[in-house]
């Protein structure tokens, strides 16, 4: 028995050492990756004096609105702060708390049941924009899975980096087809790189939700409290969602909506059906709109938010 346990501990120690060596962050996050867009978005936001309009959420907002058109229509400077749902609700809310000021209008549109996201992505954002270190969660023991996820993500990053290097050496550089870089955004913070590309054959993230009371409500209410004390106008907007995915989850979304309407201390200014479009109008996931639907959503969004942005 002792021999078995000793061997097991020795093996585990060797594995831990090897994993630690292979998962070290040898190169800090590459400049110009998708989440590094956070820097120029904040530079834009900070360049305005007076009241500003901020769109926040995950990639459903990043991919799915035309901020220029909204700005022209409501005559207020617009910044699309949204990047990726993987940054998580805590990061987004903290980002808003640290960035918004008196008189600002925030339209928060998180994906359904948005959770804590991926800490690794938060760290990458903070690498590109040091101010974002303030938005990071303080990890506790209960976040142990986050530590392991971080290690695994870094392992994957190192593996991809190595494979890319080998592949470039053997086969030359490949044509870029992903929407994974800072160049995918326009100056307002909207993702535009996908607009003229053919969509992939299938759209991802189509899953059936299991109803639960969303813990994000409490988190948003905390921001709502701060907003009301500091003269910031905060509103909740339902995200866009593909028709097929919406139909699968209709009953759950109805309950989710009821919970929000009843418990959220900020105004919910639309309904989930407002931005549901046919699956063919989505790019690669159930949240990423293509050109036409992006325009329809923008038009509708303008009509929804206009009454709330009148000074």
């Amino acid at each position: 028995m002792k021999k078995f346990i000793a061997r097991f501990i020795l093996f585990s120690a060797i594995v831990a050492l090897l994993i630690a060596a292979l998962s070290a962050n040898y190169a800090r996050s590459a400049e110009g990756n998708f989440v590094s867009a956070i820097r120029f978005k904040h530079e834009r936001l900070n360049s305005f004096k007076g009241p500003r309009v901020i769109f926040a959420g995950g990639s459903n907002v990043a991919y799915g609105i035309d901020s220029r058109e909204i700005e022209d229509s409501i005559k207020l400077p617009v910044t699309n702060l949204a990047i990726h749902a993987g940054l998580g609700l805590d990061f987004m809310l903290s980002e808003l708390k640290h960035s918004a000021r008196r008189g600002d209008f925030i339209f928060l549109s998180p994906e359904y049941y948005l959770d804590e996201g991926r800490y690794k992505l938060d760290e990458e954002a903070a690498d590109s924009y040091p101010e974002a270190k303030k938005y990071l969660r303080t990890l506790a023991i209960k976040d142990f899975p986050t530590f392991t996820d971080n290690i695994i993500e870094q392992l994957k990053t190192n593996k991809d980096y190595l494979f890319d290097k080998i592949s470039k050496k053997l086969f030359g550089a490949k044509k870029e087809t992903t929407i994974a870089s800072i160049t995918s955004f326009n100056e307002y913070g909207d993702v535009v790189a996908h607009l003229n590309r053919p969509a992939p054959a299938t759209i991802k993230d189509k899953k059936a939700f299991v109803y639960k009371y969303w813990d994000g409500i409490q988190k948003i209410n905390e921001l709502a409290q701060y907003a009301s004390e500091n003269g910031i106008h905060l509103y909740f907007v339902f995200p866009t969602y593909s028709r097929n995915a919406y139909n699968i989850n209709k009953a759950v979304i109805k309950k989710y909506q009821n919970d929000l309407v009843q418990n959220l201390k900020v105004k919910v200014i639309n309904s989930p059906e407002d931005f549901v479009y046919d699956d063919s109008e989505y790019y690669d996931t159930v949240y990423h709109l293509r050109k036409n639907a992006r325009e329809w959503r923008t038009q509708k969004l303008i009509s929804i938010i206009k009454p709330y942005t009148t000074l």
């Binding site: 093996f11 090897l18 994993i19 290690i151 392992l155 054959a201 189509k206 899953k207 699956d279």
Partner: protein, 478 residues
């Protein structure tokens, strides 16, 4: 608490420590530790159903004693029928109530009658199909005089609720597991190492083969209307590997965990995708369920005695029941029926026991004939999986209609290269290890420790970098 979760990674070492150090040399204490751990494990899924599990345990425990003590055959039978009725009653209520009600309403609607049906929001208790079958086999074996009842409630409770097999099998027999519960168990480092190795292999199957294949299979099955036929074929093949990796991976983890605690569970899989006909496939896939149906349904119905017609009838009955056991949906029943149809020619021409040994036994490569037979069987099985995976029969037929179109020879729109390479590597390892209880069991004897440890590390590394998003084990819903 999933087998591939951090919670289980904490739970198992604690149980291991308590079991071998606190309960050292004392079988009674060890059994109590297993029982408490098993109830805790089950309670983590849904503590409300602990009552149901306990009731099922008590019912079969006392039924077993009463059957054995009954003075007349009539009262023996009465106790048996009581136990079977209550056990199946719970199973039917929790698993099939809504299915029967809705199917009946559909039937009435077809005759132009309007039915106001009363459905219930019933949560399916995890593992109910498995522990019900444990209990049934126990009381039936006692009734038939094949085994003696235990008079120790703790021993019996461990037999039914042993956590490695509680939620998704293998479906054990009292004659196999109960003596192991009753007799002293001694630690063996070889057996424990073997258990860890099998757990590692099970995790690889689940996390790399099943979960990643699931990501693509789900994507293809949910967008099937717009995809090329070649993509739909690929989706079905990926699902075939998803369900195999998922369920056999689970079984490997269960068997490995039990071995860490000194138990040997029944083998549930034996390289089914290397089968050369459908009869062989069913001797290698979910073995504990197939043999359960054979022993408790097929043989009591007369088996193959009484002529071909009886054998055909009984074969259809067990395949349809097996399909229905998987879930309350016509898709599962159709899947069972389709497998029975595959089986029929083999049965009629007495070829259902042609392939007993593993393919190409003692050789490195299969003959051309064997290879063709393996591929044809895999194609049959994969075709049937479409019904198993589909949400409805209409959906399955539409999917199949999509396969038989001109785009069958076009390039698939979804082509997960890395995953296909990993599946190919996995098949090579399984093929090389096919004469062992599980694919990597033999490396202990053949390889030196540094090489072996490097291999284990490679598996762990592969799991870490290629892992898919965690998916519930498919068989937990059954």
């Amino acid at each position: 608490m999933l087998f591939n979760s951090i919670e289980f990674a904490i739970f198992l070492p604690i149980v291991f420590f308590l079991y071998w150090f606190v309960g050292k040399g004392n079988t009674k204490v060890q059994n109590i530790i297993i029982l408490v751990s098993s109830l805790f494990f089950y309670g983590c899924w849904d503590y409300r159903f602990l009552f149901l599990l306990s009731f099922s345990i008590l019912l079969d425990f006392y039924s077993g004693i009463k059957i054995s003590e009954a003075a007349t055959p009539r009262s023996k039978k009465l106790w048996l029928i009581t136990s079977i009725t209550i056990n199946l009653g719970f199973l039917l209520f929790f698993k099939y109530y809504n299915f029967f009600v809705l199917s009946f309403a559909d039937l009435l609607t077809n005759f132009g009658l309007q039915a106001n049906v009363w459905t219930l929001k019933i949560i399916l208790p995890v593992g109910i199909s498995f522990y019900t079958f444990h209990g049934l086999s126990y009381v039936i074996d006692i009734y038939k005089g094949r085994s003696e009842p235990t008079r120790n409630l703790i021993d019996y409770s461990v037999f039914v609720s042993f956590f490695p097999l509680l939620v998704a099998g293998p479906i054990e027999r009292a004659s196999h597991l109960l003596p192991q519960v009753q007799h002293p168990r001694h630690f063996s480092s070889e057996r424990a190492s073997d258990g860890l190795r099998q757990i590692l292999w099970g995790l690889f199957k689940k996390i790399v083969i099943a979960d990643v294949s699931a990501m693509y299979a789900n994507e293809i099955f949910s967008s099937n209307a717009h995809l090329h036929a070649s993509t739909l074929v690929l989706g079905a093949v990926l699902f075939a590997f998803q369900i195999y990796g998922d369920f056999s991976g689970y079984s490997d983890i269960a068997l490995g965990t039990a071995r860490l605690l000194g138990f040997e569970l029944l083998r549930n899989f034996s390289y089914p995708y290397f089968s050369r006909d459908i009869a062989e496939f069913w001797r290698r896939w979910h073995i504990s369920l197939s043999s359960w149906f054979k022993d408790y349904v097929y043989i009591p119905l007369g088996g193959s005695r009484g002529g071909k017609l009886n054998a055909v009838r009984n074969t259809f009955i067990i395949f349809l029941l097996s399909g229905f056991w998987h879930g309350a949906n016509w898709t599962f029943i159709f899947w069972g029926g389709l497998n029975a149809i595959y089986f029929l020619p083999l049965l009629l021409f007495n070829r259902n026991r042609n392939n007993i040994e593993i393919a190409a036994k003692g050789k490195v490569l299969p003959s051309f004939r064997e290879l063709v037979a393996i591929l044809i069987t895999f194609a049959q099985v994969t075709f049937a999986w479409i019904f198993f995976r589909a949400e409805s029969l209409r959906y399955a037929f539409n999917y199949i209609k999509g396969i038989f179109s001109r785009s069958l020879f076009s390039t698939p729109e979804v082509f997960p290269k890395t995953q296909l390479v990993l599946i190919a590597l996995f098949l090579v390892i399984e093929w090389l290890g096919r004469e062992q209880p599980y694919a990597i069991a033999g490396i202990n004897l053949q390889w030196s420790r540094p090489v072996r440890w490097s291999f284990y590390f490679m598996i762990i590394f592969t799991i870490a970098i290629f892992k898919g998003s965690p998916q519930q084990f498919i068989y937990f819903q059954f």
